[in-house]
């Protein structure tokens, strides 16, 4: 299976190089990349079957799930290698990533078909933009696979930054737009702040474990639980806690947790297919995946877990609020993504890694679906994204409407839909954590439960504003409204199926079975003792819990505000101007960052340069010493008068002094 795994990774890369570096037709570009990613998906399914269903080990003729490809560097006993670790967690991620990626590849054929309209006539970059887009999304698939299949921290970091690179390229894909190239720079820099922490975390791993290999690190981890580190003098911290928190800072950047979340809403400047693939389904979940992968480390530090719990809870609740006031359809989905990432993070903090990863998977399907449906609406609306100019689209685009409805039901967590199972599992887990007394769990539980109401409210608000109610678009747009082409609707349908079903089908195995047995480690005392009595019991239990009623309440509220008494929202808004402003302002994060960090850095740079380099070093020291030499020369050149008599006089004086010297000694 070594070859198959290699093929899964390399096929998208081949597609990317083929479409990107060579001058190929549009048709060649999308056929090549689609074939490569499609093959990659089927092979991933095959690997998944062998590993999860047949319980085989993939490498070295069935004896190991690790494979070393080559040695990157080596120092004595320390080897930095590039290799694979393929277990159930990896296999699940591989299937999810390649499936969503493939759907997005297909969808892109339709979405980007008239991309030349997005470029000015003269731009040469616009001539090949279609091919370039396919090249980028394939490159992304390659990077993401490298990330999830890694067996060591080095390659993890490689994939980590590589997906960041592709994200940068794709957010700034329409490079003629000022907002796009502002957003991509911001995204890269904010991610770099996270990576800054991540790199220090990796450095700490190397220091304490003397290896970067996952397996060796996990094996050594328990023996390290008593080692402490002094970062500030006389304050001791457990080394494991430090490692975990630094690694999690990386996850905060990539998975957009407060306060490093600021890049994600802006990333919507990119074309919609990548918002679905990168900024909802896969890349942003890298942080969640990473923490789940590192569960043997995180289990050793409840401090780090509490930190994660609180950060996740803040993100889940407060980013949800922001979704309530957005009018741009993509931004609503973006803030919903932030909030859902918060849910996953809370699950990690509650030691319910499996539930977090489970939600990661269900979310990948329904959020990709919602984004692609939003994209389908945007095509129909001629690139209008403001929901206030939509409405009543139900009858024009039935497939988009139905799939979006299914996605919304999954996202809000209506019973039997995939999101219901994963979200309920997380809330249950946090409740257990709360009973267990983990710091921050009470706050997290409250945030998540209340968040269910918010989620339901903004989701149905978006749904009603877009598909129901009065048709608020202009006449010209309305005349041209029609369902999107097959390449767009087929991915929607294919994504809708798992959005509905995947939860019910997999919950038993993933949360209560031995699916993650070898991949995720949960300490005995952190394990919840709940048993699983079948899906129907789970649902019936769910119906008695507050989250279900909150979903319903959200739906009713949204219905009354946006269908029944449509004048009310404006009234509420005018009553709470101040609150509305804060929400529209993203709590001031952006203003603060651009004032403090961007402005501060520029100010400091100017200060260092104009005072330090120009005035002090160059002005005072360099040119100053040149001036001093000049002044001395002015003085000494007076000696050189050119009068022979004066020279002769000086010589005689000198001779006398020398003679006197010799005679005296």
């Amino acid at each position: 299976m070594e070859f198959i795994c290699l093929l899964i990774v390399l096929l998208p890369l081949i597609g990317s190089i083929g479409a990107g570096l060579f001058t190929v037709s549009r048709k060649t570009a999308h056929w090549l990349t689609n074939t490569c990613v499609g093959l990659s998906f089927f092979l991933s399914v095959y690997v998944f079957k062998l590993i999860v269903l047949d319980k085989l080990l993939p490498f070295h003729s069935g004896t190991s799930n690790e494979l070393t490809l080559y040695t990157w560097l080596s120092f004595g006993k320390l080897n930095l290698e590039v290799g694979f670790l393929v277990d159930s967690l990896t296999a699940m991620m591989m299937v999810t990533v390649t499936f969503v990626s493939w759907m997005v590849h297909i969808y892109t054929i339709g979405y980007m078909s008239d991309d030349e309209h997005n470029w000015s006539d003269k731009s040469l970059a616009g001539k090949s933009s279609y091919q370039r887009f396919f090249s980028y999304i394939s490159l992304f698939t390659f990077s993401m696979l490298m990330l999830v299949m890694s067996n060591n921290f080095l390659q993890l970091f490689f994939g980590w930054e590589a997906v960041g690179l592709v994200s940068y390229l794709l957010i700034g894909f329409w490079l003629q737009r000022d907002t796009a190239i502002y957003a991509n720079l911001k995204a890269f820099l904010v991610n770099r702040v996270g990576d800054f922490g991540f790199l220090l975390g990796i450095a700490a791993v190397l220091m304490y474990f003397n290896t970067l290999d996952y397996k060796e690190v996990f094996a050594l981890a328990p023996s390290l639980s008593n080692v402490s580190i002094e970062i500030f003098p006389d304050i001791e911290w457990s080394a494991i806690t430090i490692i975990c928190i630094f690694l999690f800072i990386g996850a905060m950047g990539k998975s957009a947790q407060v306060p490093l979340h600021v890049w994600l809403p802006d990333s919507m400047e990119g074309p919609t297919p990548i918002s679905a693939l990168i900024h909802a389904a896969t890349m942003v979940t890298a942080g969640v995946f990473m923490v789940a992968r590192m569960s043997p480390l995180y289990e050793l530090s409840t401090t780090a877990l509490s930190f994660i719990l609180i950060v996740g809870a803040i993100t889940a609740l407060f980013m949800g609020f922001l979704g309530l006031v957005q009018n741009d359809i993509k931004r609503v989905v973006a803030y919903s993504t932030l909030s859902q990432l918060g849910y996953m993070t809370v699950a990690l903090g509650a030691s319910a890694y499996a539930a977090g990863v489970f939600h990661l998977m269900t979310h990948a399907f329904f959020k990709a679906l919602l984004f692609l449906a939003a994209g389908s609406v945007i095509i129909a609306m001629h690139h209008e994204q403001d929901m206030r100019k939509m409405g009543g689209l139900r009858k024009y685009m039935p497939i988009t409407y139905i799939t979006a409805l299914l996605g919304t039901l999954a996202l809000t967590g209506v019973p039997f839909f995939s999101g219901f199972f994963s979200k309920d599992a997380i809330i249950e887990a946090v409740h257990f954590s709360y009973e267990e007394g983990r710091f921050g769990a009470g706050f997290a539980y409250f945030s998540l439960v209340f968040g269910v109401f918010i989620t339901s409210l903004y989701s149905f608000r978006m749904f009603f504003l877009t598909f129901h109610g009065k048709e608020r678009m202009d006449e010209h747009t309305r005349k041209h409204l029609h369902e999107s082409p097959v390449v767009v609707t087929v991915p929607l349908i294919l994504l809708a199926i798992p959005s509905v079903l995947i939860g019910a089908f997999t919950i038993e195995a993933m949360l209560y079975g031995d699916f993650f047995e070898s991949a995720i480690h949960v300490a005995k005392e952190h394990q919840s003792s709940h048993d699983f009595h079948g899906i129907s019991t789970f649902v019936v239990h769910g119906l008695t819990q507050p989250p279900f009623w909150l979903v319903l309440a959200g739906f009713v509220t949204a219905y009354s505000l946006y269908m029944q008494w449509t004048g009310l929202p404006a009234l509420i808004q005018s009553k709470f101007v101040f609150l509305h402003k804060i929400l529209l302002d993203n709590y001031g994060f952006d203003r603060f960052n651009s004032w403090f960090f961007a402005g501060g850095a520029r100010g400091l740079g100017t200060l260092c340069w104009s005072v330090g380099d120009v005035k002090l070093i160059d002005g005072l020291l360099v040119n100053g010493s040149a001036k001093v030499i000049g002044i001395f020369s002015q003085v000494f050149r007076r000696i050189q008068t050119g009068f022979l008599s004066q020279y002769a006089f000086a010589m005689i004086i000198g001779l006398l002094v020398l003679l006197g010297w010799f005679v005296h000694f």
Partner: protein, 509 residues
Amino acid sequence: MSAELPLLSLLIWLPIAGGVWVLTQSKDSEDALLVRPIALTIAVLTFLFSLPLFFSFDITTASMQFEEKLPWIQALNTYYHLGVDGISMPLILLTTFITPLVILSAWEVIKNRPAQYMAAFLIMEGLMNGVFAALDAMLFYVFWEAMLVPMFIIIGVWGGANRIYASLKFFLYTLLGSVLMLVALLYMYNQSGGQFSILSFHQLNLSSTAQTLIFLAFLAAFAVKVPMWPVHTWLPDAHVEAPTGGSVVLAAIMLKMGTYGFLRFSLPITPQASHELAWFIILLSLIAVVYIGFVALVQQDMKKLIAYSSISHMGFVTLGFFIMFAILQNTQSKDIAAMGIEGAMIQMISHGFISGALFLCVGVLYDRLHSREISTYGGVANTMPRFAMFVVLFAMANAGLPGTSGFVGEFMVILSSFQANFWIAFLASTTLILGAAYTLWMIKRVIYGSIADDKMETVGRLTDINARETFILAILALAVLFFGIWPAPLQEVMHVSVMNLIEHVTRSQ
């Protein structure tokens, strides 16, 4: 490769002799056109002759290879003594790799005395190879000083408007440092009983005062060359005024002379002083990384920005060298110490590719619009998409993206310095943010965006890079990617020599 062929001599004298011949050719640019292929052939031949250094290099020994030794000035007991180990060999390859690209980059661009321009680079190539290969201190010093002359001329003749100030500043700055080094060399000549052999200097048992003074004398010479804060201000001026080729050689190779000097002279000859003053070098290195990073952020001139970025990246090199002592003290792990030093050395090579490539990219724009100001540009990707691809790649490499060579060195230095001190690693890691900020902000303003109305006549009429320019950038891109994806071949050749250096330094404590 046969041992009889004096490879190193060939690498020094072939380009010098070829260069001198080219130099004497007509100044008339018509005739000079014929000389171009000859200059290029010489440079390519030199590169081909340097390949055996790598491929028949014995990676199991730290002793000098490809040695040549002939008496030179017997009255002074100096020898024409050449040889390379894992520390110098990669640098010679870097020199022979960059020079043909520089000559090719001048092909249609230099209109004023093209033959003499190329000759200057050939001669300089020979001299730089001499610096890296010399094992006799006198010989080293001669090459070291001689190298300044062609560079002085390149800036002074083919440079920009303010070239006289820049070339004088460059010359005086570096000369001032070198004079102190000469004093140190002469002192050691006396101490070693009248010989100039660098390897015998390594065995000297110097008193701690003598070590400190010698270390400071060397520091004066090397710090200026690197350049380290605060003696760095000649570099931005020199880069701004230098023609493209001059900037490339300056950034890609000449800066490495300084850091090479630390490895060949300071650390092995004055290990004790190096240990005692390591904190000082580390401090200066961190200032280079952080302070210069901020300075780079506000530059308006692309060449100045890349020049400051060079200083910041070279800070990683000096940091990687001198962090060794703290690592050994903290962990006793020579492997981790080696990681720091080798990371620094990989950074030297990688910076040669990346900064060279970035200066070539600025040259491409400068050839077309005769401006280095960031504000002149904006939206270049619209008219030069192929060029934009390369620039973004090199910018990412400059920002240390994994998968490019720029990542390898920084990664190793940060990982190893973490084991010395958390805060050193913390400050060094800020380059992740600062490096990305200044590089990508420049990319945003130059490459991305739409073309403003008032730039339609300038940026709007740019032509994309031609085959020659594409070829040069593609070669560098391959190098950057290759060593990013698989740095092991480069590190392997260094490892034994570096371990030997560490052994030597710890033994002499």
